[in-house]
């Protein structure tokens, strides 16, 4: 075998194919990375305005970042950042406990409403999320959560209340933990609660981290729920609405390069988190298959 594959490597046809593959991969990689490189360069661009005559900036500056972080008059980015951070922390705590509770119950316990619940989750998932959102807005309005700083509470509720429906990936992970462990614990006199907190959770660190991170990221990248709930309440804006606003007609000339800076600032931590998390993501996707 070993010798054969070496021979293959030396054959000219094989070499050409190899070269071709690497060239294509390189071209593709450039296409995929180009927008990212471009936005990073734009965030350091010194020339003002949205559109320029050249693809790459002519001169560079750090002022875009300074303006973004210090200009609190028009678009108050630091405040948006704090808003989003508060919302993200709260909804992260609620969603994580909801998701893990539901997926543990569905994976480990057997009860009458188990299949009906899973079918219900599937059916509810088929409605456009947007349809629920409009009615959610009316309900929050009836509860008085659409004015002033209670918008934040409304957003936390919107982001976390229905997360019990998103159990699939973590349930898939729990399913892969051998049941024999549970059974041994039950013989030793452990209750289900003890199994959940002392055995399953410590064994499921990857999926716990994955759940925490994804629910923490959600409020940073959601744009449309926040826009509908905040409407014109500028002091309640989250980062995503702020960035979107910077590209609207009235702001784009002044704020375009700041938008790029903001995009880089927001993307950087999320990208790092994501790169760190992707192996859990892959495990979650293929975990059920590997067994």
């Amino acid at each position: 075998m070993e010798k054969k594959s070496k021979d293959n490597n030396r054959s000219p046809r094989r070499r050409i194919v190899n070269l071709l593959v690497h060239v294509i991969l390189a071209v593709l990689a450039v296409i995929w990375l180009l927008p990212i490189v471009w936005i990073i360069l734009t965030s350091f661009r010194a020339e003002p305005g949205a559109y320029t005559k050249t693809f790459l900036p002519k001169s560079y500056t750090i002022n875009n970042y300074v303006k973004l972080l210090t200009d609190r008059n028009v678009l108050n980015f630091p405040r948006m950042f704090m808003n989003t951070l508060i919302i993200a922390i709260c909804s992260c705590c609620i969603s994580t406990s909801f998701v893990l509770s539901v997926s543990y119950s569905l994976s480990r316990m057997r009860f009458k409403m188990r299949k009906p619940y899973m079918n219900m989750a599937m059916i509810l998932g088929l409605f456009p999320g947007f349809m629920t959102m409009i009615a959610q807005y009316f309900i929050l309005k009836a509860m008085g959560l659409t004015e002033g700083s209670s918008i934040r509470l409304g957003l936390i509720i919107v982001y976390s209340a229905c997360t019990g429906l998103g159990f699939q990936i973590s349930k898939g992970f729990f399913d892969t933990i051998p049941r024999a462990i549970d059974e041994a614990a039950i013989i030793d006199g452990a209750t289900q609660w003890q199994i959940f907190t002392r055995i399953t959770m410590p064994l499921s660190k990857p999926i716990v981290i994955y759940t925490i991170m994804t629910s923490f990221i959600a409020p940073w990248v959601d744009f449309i729920f926040a826009k509908v709930l905040c409407r014109a309440n500028a002091d309640q804006f989250t980062v995503a609405i702020g960035l979107w606003n910077m590209l609207q007609k009235e702001y784009i000339y002044q704020w375009y390069t700041c938008f790029a800076a903001g995009a880089v600032l927001i993307s950087l931590p999320i990208a790092i988190l994501f790169l760190y998390l992707q192996r859990f993501y892959v495990e979650g996707m293929s975990g059920a298959v590997k067994g």
Binding site: N18, L25, L28, W32, P128, Q136, A271, F274, S286, A288
Partner: protein, 448 residues
């Protein structure tokens, strides 16, 4: 024995005095069968329910058939010789509170049935001489055998209040005249299936747009799902090839692009493809074009652009997801195929694709559903445009973005609700036919 089965009928026929009383005074049966505290809680819930119904509930339900009749306006006060402003009915609130009251009533009925059954069950236990579990034992079971109740109570309440109730509320809107058309934003009435007829009628303006949008939505979903799936798989296979060098470097390049939050990268794409955006500038500077390419203003070009950008967004995802599964394909299948002289294309279509389809059908369906409801990509890229004069839907609008425009921009709430329901119906048909037949749904526990 017939009366052994715990059913409502048996409880009412064979129940003892306590059980029968509990049909009226709820909790009496439970309290009478030695679970006093539990019975008291049930009774309190009944009292709370009736107080709510007398104070608000019956009024809410009585308003529901008419949805309010009083328009708010000025009323001439003869005594004071002035116009007085009178608050009229707000149909939207009446509908919302009516729907909520309906849910409360349903919950009450469920509670009534449950307490009756429980009482009968306790009665049978006492008759057989079994020991009735005490409060402490019941509480303890909430952390052991009944842990699922403890764990799932709050999430279920959340889903009920912020998903099911809103959905039902929105669905009822489809049967009303709640719309800016005809000034029905404050006062509106039931409208039967009128809006559905409007949407389905191909000859009307709304109906024509609906079929147009529906066709594009399905074309989009098919292209977006399957192109991403197949190209992503090919990319994963190319990177995983034995002779490809720097595997993790290539993977990193592609993964980096999805690590950037999607709304950011979509906004960047939108800006780059504007008439004076970076791509047109680049192409002009290279001397390839004289006039800027109208990426967003030409309907066909906008559609193609969106599908291509979706490839940029989606291929790395697919690559990430299928890499692990691809490596699970038994190597001897490939060896055997090569022995028989199959080329790479034959191997892909005869071995890899069928195997992957077999394993990833649920994922494929989920991404199809996700694409039909893909709001961000359309809204942030083209905004649904270009839009012809007189239309509410643009040429690249999906059902879900049209739903957004109809409700948020136009305030045609009833039409929006109809579109939402139609989307659900279409997705249900597609999903039910495929999902329930897929192997991974049937054999959920097969690997355990």
């Amino acid at each position: 024995m017939k009366e052994d089965r715990v059913t409502v009928k048996n409880a009412l026929v064979h129940g003892d005095l306590f059980t029968k009383i509990s049909a009226v005074i709820m909790g009496a049966g439970i309290a009478g069968h030695k679970q006093i505290l539990k019975g008291a809680v049930v009774l309190m819930m009944e009292i709370a329910f009736w107080i709510f119904m007398v104070k608000k509930g019956f009024y809410n339900l009585s308003k529901l058939p008419s949805l309010g009749t009083e328009a708010h306006g000025k009323v001439w006060n003869e005594a004071k010789q002035i116009y007085e402003y009178k608050a009229g009915d707000n149909s939207q609130q009446i509908l919302l509170f009516g729907v909520i009251t309906c849910f409360v009533v349903l919950g009450f009925i469920a509670l009534w049935i449950l307490q009756l059954l429980h009482s009968y069950k306790l009665q049978r236990m006492i008759e057989k001489g079994e020991e009735v579990p005490g409060l402490r034992k019941e509480l303890r079971s909430l952390f052991d055998g009944n842990l699922h109740i403890t764990l799932m109570a709050l999430p279920c309440i959340g889903i009920l209040v912020f998903n099911i109730v809103p959905l039902v509320y929105m669905i009822t809107m489809a049967f009303t005249t709640y719309s800016k058309e005809g000034e029905h934003l404050v006062l509106f009435d039931w409208d039967g299936l009128h809006q559905f007829m409007r949407v389905l009628n191909m000859k009307g303006n709304i109906g024509r747009q609906f079929w147009h949008v529906l066709a594009w939505t399905i074309v989009w979903a098919i292209f977006a799902t399957f192109l991403n799936y197949i190209l992503g798989m090919i990319l994963a296979m190319v990177i995983n090839r034995k002779d490809t060098r720097f595997k993790s470097f290539w993977r990193f390049c592609f993964v980096l692009s999805i690590a950037v939050p999607q709304f950011v990268s979509l906004m960047i794409m939108n800006i780059m493809l504007q008439p004076s955006g970076a791509v047109n500038v680049l192409l002009k500077n290279l001397g390839l074009i004289n006039e800027p390419i109208p990426f967003w203003t030409n309907a066909l070009l906008a559609r193609i652009t969106i599908i291509v950008i979706n490839l940029w967004v989606g291929i790395p995802y697919t690559m990430l997801q299928v890499t692990g599964i691809l490596q699970n394909i038994p190597e001897d299948l490939y060896e055997a195929a090569k022995m028989d002289g199959a080329g790479p294309a034959t191997i892909f279509f005869k071995i890899t694709l069928p195997y992957m389809l077999f394993v990833t059908t649920p994922y494929l369906i989920a991404s199809f559903v996700g694409n039909i409801n893909n709001f961000n990509i359309i809204y942030l890229l083209s905004g649904g445009g270009p839009t012809y004069v007189g239309d509410t839907a643009g040429q690249t609008d999906l059902l879900v973005t049209w739903l957004y425009k109809l409700t948020i921009d136009q305030q045609y709430y009833n039409l929006g609700a109809v579109i939402g329901i139609m989307t659900f119906v279409i997705l249900t048909i597609i999903t039910l036919t495929t999902y329930r037949n897929s192997s991974s749904y049937k054999n959920e526990e097969a690997f355990m």
